[in-house]
């Protein structure tokens, strides 16, 4: 799984905070030109995993390796600009990279928001902001583009257009893409590989292979099969608001990790079989 050519890879990585594992045992790699999509319910560790990839937080367990020439372009989930900070779109474009006026125009044009060049970031609508964030990230000419729910606040037709744009850019720049998403149907259309998280990697593979596998149906339910199915998560365990985990058999544990007693058909479960049936 961890190819030598991969831009960045996580190996059995985990983040431990306040006596809890937010995610654990994550193995994941992204190759140039590949679109990898992370899916999973709220609190499943999607953003935490992305932060490990981005070097924003260091794994407490396992490791992260990245290619030396890794150049990241990051589209955060949201960005809040305080009223006290005057910041126009054109200035925002170059906060981490020096850009010429032509480069700024060209990249804003690409995401169809050039007309907003002189607008204050604070005044943009959700969809406009996402397009500006994307323009800023690609203007860096990254070889890894990380997008945290990039279609938030974008209407449905805009959503599809934005996803098409992302895959176009990926082709053109030959950059790897890590996409964090809630929408299963669009994910299935654009992505090379899907990674399903729920505190750990539930399953991963090509969309077709994943969609046809019995594991997938087991994890996502029959309704998720088919390109335009509505995404609903039907895991065998549910994360409760207080961070504990409710399992299919009704038991409640601190974590959803193998030793806590959960019931996926993964090989890593076997070694814990005795414990998990307690």
């Amino acid at each position: 799984m961890l190819g030598t050519n991969s831009l960045v890879s996580l190996n059995n990585a985990g983040i431990h905070r306040a006596n809890k594992w937010l995610v654990r045992g994550v193995g994941l790699s992204i190759a140039p030109g590949e679109i990898v999509t992370l899916i999973g319910p709220n609190g499943s560790g999607k953003s935490t995993t992305a932060k490990m990839i981005l070097d924003v937080i260091q794994p407490d367990e396992g490791s992260k390796t990245s290619r030396e020439d890794l150049r990241v372009g990051y589209v955060p989930q949201k960005i809040e600009i305080d009223w006290t900070l005057p910041l126009r779109v054109d200035r925002f474009m170059s906060i981490t990279t020096r850009l010429s006026v032509a480069e700024i125009d060209e990249n804003l044009e690409r995401t169809s928001v050039r007309h907003l060049k002189k607008a204050q970031i604070r005044n943009l609508s959700g969809g406009e902001l996402q397009r500006v964030l994307l323009a800023r990230a690609i203007a860096r000419k990254p070889n890894l583009l990380v997008l945290d729910e990039p279609v938030q606040g974008v209407d449905f037709s805009g959503e599809i257009a934005l996803y098409e744009l992302i895959s176009e850019i990926c082709d053109e720049l030959q950059c790897g893409v890590l996409l964090i998403s809630h929408d299963l149907h669009v994910v299935m259309a654009a992505t090379d590989r899907v990674v399903c998280l729920n505190g750990h990697v539930c399953c991963q593979g090509t969309p077709d292979a994943v969609a046809e596998s019995s594991e997938y149906k087991h994890l996502f339910g029959e309704r998720a099969v088919g390109a335009l199915a509505v995404y609903q998560h039907a895991h065998d365990h549910q994360h409760l608001p207080d961070g504990t985990v409710l399992h299919a058999d009704g038991s409640i544990t601190e974590h959803c990790h193998p030793e806590d007693g959960h019931h996926h058909d993964h090989d890593h479960d076997e070694q814990y079989e005795e414990k998990s049936n307690v």
Binding site: L54, V72, P76, I79, D82, T84, L87, R88, V146
Partner: protein
């Protein structure tokens, strides 16, 4: 021309305003007003240390301010009290400790009025040199870390993800804050330093559309406040430090009139 006390006061004040402008913008953007206030209050403790250890006041104030900010970072990381409560605790403890400690040293007389509100009219040529050299060091360092610090101000995660090293920029910024407090304490006093950092920046915000423009405007506004305040204090025999702050406030109130709005909307096209 440096022989005239009023000219010296003017040049010293302008020196502080030039540095306080851009630094104050970051204080406003990053919501560090209370943090700055805490550092400023700790200067009283710094003054005590200077007398007690017989070292230079500026050096002592600088060292104490850096120590307080390190202590603050440490306590924040440990968790427990919320940030603002922690700042309130440190701020007033440092101030009170300093005042109590000074009162024990009956053999020295410290002009409390000057300590709290500044004594710009007694600036010496040496003070002037320290202010301008120190000020240029602060300004130069700020220019060097500007991109990194600004990226971290907009979004720390984004800055970190795209290789901007926000931790280092934040640390340097903290040292620069301690430095400006050390060099400007004598001029505007412990209680008014933060006003000089914040009011010109807040005034500039009402006109500016871009961060660099805001920094530049806050320098202009700070210089106007110093000039106007000093002339006012000469004219009406009012205390000089507070007069500068009152002048800054007047400039801020002026931007509430429609003209400032027009200036801004023109540039947003």
């Amino acid at each position: 021309m440096f022989d005239d006390f009023f000219v010296r006061a003017l040049i010293a004040g302008i020196g502080i305003a030039v540095v306080a402008g851009p630094l104050g913008c970051f204080v406003v953007w990053r919501r560090l007003a209370y943090f700055g206030d805490t550092l400023a209050h700790s200067a009283v403790l710094g003054v005590f240390m200077a007398v007690f250890l017989e070292i230079n006041v500026m050096v002592s104030v600088f060292v104490v301010a850096v120590l307080i900010s390190v202590l603050l970072l440490f306590l924040q990381k440990r968790g427990g009290l919320a940030s603002d409560a922690l700042l309130g605790l440190l701020s007033h403890s440092a101030l009170a400790l300093g005042l109590v400690a000074i009162s024990f040293m009956t053999w020295v007389r410290i002009d409390l009025q000057a300590l709290l509100f500044g004594d710009i009219l007694s600036v010496s040529k040496l003070d002037l040199a320290i202010i301008w050299i120190g000020g240029l060091v602060v300004l130069g360092s700020l220019v060097l870390i500007w991109r990194q610090l600004f990226a971290a101000t907009v979004n720390e995660e984004l800055a970190r993800a795209e290789g901007m090293k926000p931790d280092r920029a934040n640390l340097i910024f903290m040292v620069l804050m301690a430095l400006i407090i050390a060099i400007s304490m004598k001029i505007v006093g412990v209680l008014l330093i933060i006003a000089l950092l914040i009011i010109p920046a807040a005034t500039a915000r009402r006109i500016a559309v871009n961060p660099e423009q805001m920094a530049f405007l806050s320098v202009l506004i700070g210089v106007m406040a110093v000039g106007g305040g000093l002339f006012g204090s000469l004219q009406w025999d009012t205390p000089s430090g507070p007069s500068i702050v009152v002048m800054a406030l007047v400039l801020f109130l002026l931007t509430l009139f429609p003209l400032a709005q027009k200036l801004r909307s023109k540039q947003e096209g």
